[in-house]
């Protein structure tokens, strides 16, 4: 355990605990997430040493209650780690390991050590003997996960299940960024389970919130690197950032990044309230956040590539690590249209006189 982690544990101020965690993660990733590690990951290798380093600092467990192996950091602060993950375009399942841990802890299921996954979709049944049968898809880093968390139909109602890795048949796939995104099948596999403390829609929303947070972080990085490039790159005898046309685009990009950060903050607060089984639930804040961050990712990515020009379209340049993941994350756990419909239905149901109160309640 590092000193900074000890500080984070004992600090009475929640926000400082979050800042400490983010700094710890930021330093680690700046040092250890090297181009070599990225290349190994892209080639299909599991960067186990980097994961071990994250794990050693306790970052994947930071979100857990103390009883489940965490160290009492407020959930919103722990979630803010995901903005750092986004800022570094992290090619590791930190988000899903945190989310799986949170879900398993709430259900009272023992949390397996190591990386975990949460299925974006599944059709799984659990029989009376506790054996799971079915399939799950959209499983980020599923091939590397110790367990895949799904919501299943149990004999007495919905159950949360941790499908153990050794019993999984994996159909490997890749998301648009080239990160593993697999489908898995199980056939009468004994699996730890418990009555589901929440529904599939809530688990999907919590997953969407993690992607919103990572998109916010990635957009922040993309905005900063695009401004940096515009200040360095010279054409017509001056930095391209001196041209008003480019400046106006960069202002739009920064606005989208700021908007995404604010929306992601709303999502983090909603998930924190949900994790404590309090507050107004995940809607409408998470729906709004996933829509807004996804839209910002689309607009921001387009501007960043436009300003970077041809060099940003190369494999060698780092830009695509961020823009590729922005595109993957805006797809994961529900695209903008899906969440917009959820939010829109909520607002229309509130009616003309309830519309504004529904907005102030978000």
């Amino acid at each position: 355990m590092t000193n900074s982690q000890a500080d984070a544990r004992s600090d009475p101020q929640a926000d400082d605990a979050g800042a400490m965690l983010r700094e710890t993660a930021d330093r680690l990733l700046a040092d250890r997430l090297t181009p070599q590690i990225r290349a190994r990951g892209a080639a299909g290798e599991w960067p186990g040493d980097l994961w071990a380093a994250l794990d050693e600092l306790g970052l994947p467990a930071a979100i857990l209650p103390e009883a489940a192996g965490g160290f009492g950091v407020p959930v919103a602060d722990a979630l803010s780690l995901l903005t750092v993950a986004g800022r570094h375009a992290l090619p590791l399942p930190l988000a899903d390991t945190m989310l799986a841990g949170l879900a398993l802890a709430r259900a009272g299921i023992a949390i397996p050590p190591g990386p975990l996954a949460v299925a974006q979709g599944s059709e799984v049944r659990l029989d009376a003997a506790g054996r799971a049968t079915g399939q799950a898809w959209g499983v980020s880093f599923g091939r590397h996960a110790r367990a895949v968390v799904v919501l299943a139909d149990g004999p007495d109602g919905p159950v949360l299940v941790a499908l153990p890795r050794d019993a999984l048949a994996i159909e490997p796939g890749l998301d648009i960024a080239g990160d593993p995104c697999d489908a898995v099948r199980v056939e009468a596999v004994p699996a730890p389970s418990a009555p589901a403390p929440f529904g599939a829609a809530e688990l999907r929303a919590a997953g969407a919130a993690t992607r919103a947070l990572m998109m916010a972080g990635a957009l922040d990085a993309v905005s900063a690197m695009t401004v940096g490039y515009a200040n360095e790159r010279r054409q017509f005898g001056r930095a391209i950032g001196q041209f008003q046309a480019v400046q106006q685009s960069l202002a739009v990009l920064a606005g989208q990044a700021a908007s995404a950060a604010v929306a992601a903050g709303l999502a983090a607060e909603a998930v924190a309230a949900w994790a404590g089984a309090s507050g107004p639930g995940l809607l409408p804040a998470v729906a709004a956040a996933k829509v807004r961050t996804g839209e910002a990712a689309g607009q921001g990515t387009a501007i960043a590539h436009q300003v970077h020009g041809a060099i940003g379209f190369t494999q060698e340049h780092r830009l695509h690590r961020y823009t590729g993941r922005l595109r993957a994350w805006r797809d994961a756990f529900g695209r903008e249209a899906e969440w917009a419909q959820v939010l829109g239905r909520h607002l229309i149901a509130a009616g003309p006189d309830g519309l504004w109160p529904a907005i102030t309640a978000a």
Binding site: A254, P284, A340, L343, G351, P352
Partner: protein, 388 residues
């Protein structure tokens, strides 16, 4: 450091304000009685809607200058409580236009730069809803380039003599006072912002001529205000001579970050929900959800700036961002609304929707012009990013 600090801009979560939450219920009760019966089109006018009697009603409740010191007619309540009041008024479509500039901008300027005599004489009248202000900044040849103003105040005896023309002066015919921005020193090409000052101008003074300029709908909000050898007393100077630019730019965070920067079209959204509700399809739900996501996010950004202002920060860049993003949403709402509703029999609801849609569509171009054009705002943001 806040939880989700951006590299270049900071929108920390607004501090919790239980007092504001309690206040909200009180405001909603008041609005239910005072505003809900008004026609949809009136409510769609948002902060263009003029009703001096309504402004006086707010004043009588102590709801103008809510944050100001009690000795000047204020209530010494928090900025976040005032924020709740403003957003509730706007969301309900209350006619706040008569006092809006005085309460938002002129009063705070007086508090910051005014002499004790100026504050004591004017602020209680603003707080009572009995003294309305207009802004004398733009001129026929000075829009976004405010430093190029040519209206000039020359020293004369103990006072000043003013000559020049102001344009786009909203509600000048309904206002008692103008805060005039003009040149008091020679134009220095190297320091174009130097040599400007602000004055409190009684609009009934001899030599002032106010002429209406009708907008494209035919409404009279704008005016041309001509100054011909207008004699101002020495105590008309607001703040310090030559500091006009710094004083004006100091107001910008207040002017650009409030809920009026993303709620101008809100009443159209309400009427849209009213007509969609019986049978909203997936396309309508998705469109509403996208707009809702924008508004929920902008509201949070705007409240964040209110929290920063309350804490004494100067979030001018964040405010520029709120206004730029807010105008986009305000302008998107009529475009999306017209797409979602087909024509049909002229029921009262359909008629109200059509009127509000037309009103909002026609006024939408002004949303990214007033208070700093889109291009100026993005230029400010770009400079904040370190681009020159």
């Amino acid at each position: 450091m806040s939880q989700f600090t951006m590299s270049q801009f900071a929108f920390p979560p607004p501090p919790p304000s239980p007092a504001a939450d309690a206040f909200r219920a009180e405001i909603r009760d008041f609005l239910a009685a005072e505003v809900e019966h008004r026609p949809a089109l009136d409510r769609a006018q948002s902060w263009n809607g003029l009703d001096p009697a309504f402004s006086r009603k707010l004043g009588a409740r102590g709801w103008l200058g809510l944050t100001w010191p009690k000795r000047y007619g204020g209530q010494e309540r928090s900025g976040l409580e005032r924020y709740v009041l403003l957003e509730e008024l706007l969301a309900a479509g209350a006619p706040v236009g008569a006092h809006w500039i005085a309460e938002r901008q002129s009063g705070p300027s007086l508090l910051r730069y005014g002499t004790e005599a100026q504050k004591a004489a004017i602020l209680p009248r603003i707080a009572a809803g009995e003294c309305f202000f207009c802004i004398g900044m733009s001129e026929p040849d000075s829009g976004s380039d405010l430093a190029s103003v040519r209206t000039r105040a020359e020293r004369e005896g103990d006072g000043w003599r003013v000559n020049g023309t102001k344009l786009w002066t909203t509600n000048a015919t309904h206002c008692h006072l103008m805060i005039l921005f003009c040149r008091t020193g020679p134009l220095d090409r190297e320091h174009r912002h130097a040599g400007t000052s602000q004055f409190l101008v009684d609009l009934t003074l001899p030599g002032i001529t106010i002429r209406p300029v009708r907008n494209l709908v035919g409404e009279h909000h704008f005016n041309e205000v001509v100054f011909e050898d207008v004699r101002l007393p020495g105590d008309a100077l607001l703040g310090r001579e030559g500091e006009g630019w710094a004083q004006v730019t100091g107001e910008l965070a207040y002017e650009r970050s409030g809920p009026e920067r993303f709620l101008s079209s809100f009443r159209l959204l309400v009427e849209l929900v009213r007509v969609l509700r019986p049978a909203a399809d997936a396309r309508a739900e998705i469109a509403l959800g996208r707009l809702g996501a924008e508004i929920i996010t902008l509201r949070r950004m705007s409240r964040s700036v209110a929290g920063l202002l309350q804490a004494g920060a100067d979030p001018a860049l964040e405010a520029a961002m709120v206004k730029d993003l807010g105008a986009l949403v305000e302008q998107a709402i009529p475009e999306i609304a017209r797409d979602l509703v087909a024509d049909g029999p002229p029921t009262p609801q359909a008629r109200a929707f059509a009127e509000v849609l037309a009103y909002t569509t026609l006024h939408a171009p002004s949303f990214s012009l007033r208070g700093g054009t889109r291009e100026i705002l993005r230029g400010i943001i770009a400079r904040g990013l370190g681009l020159r």
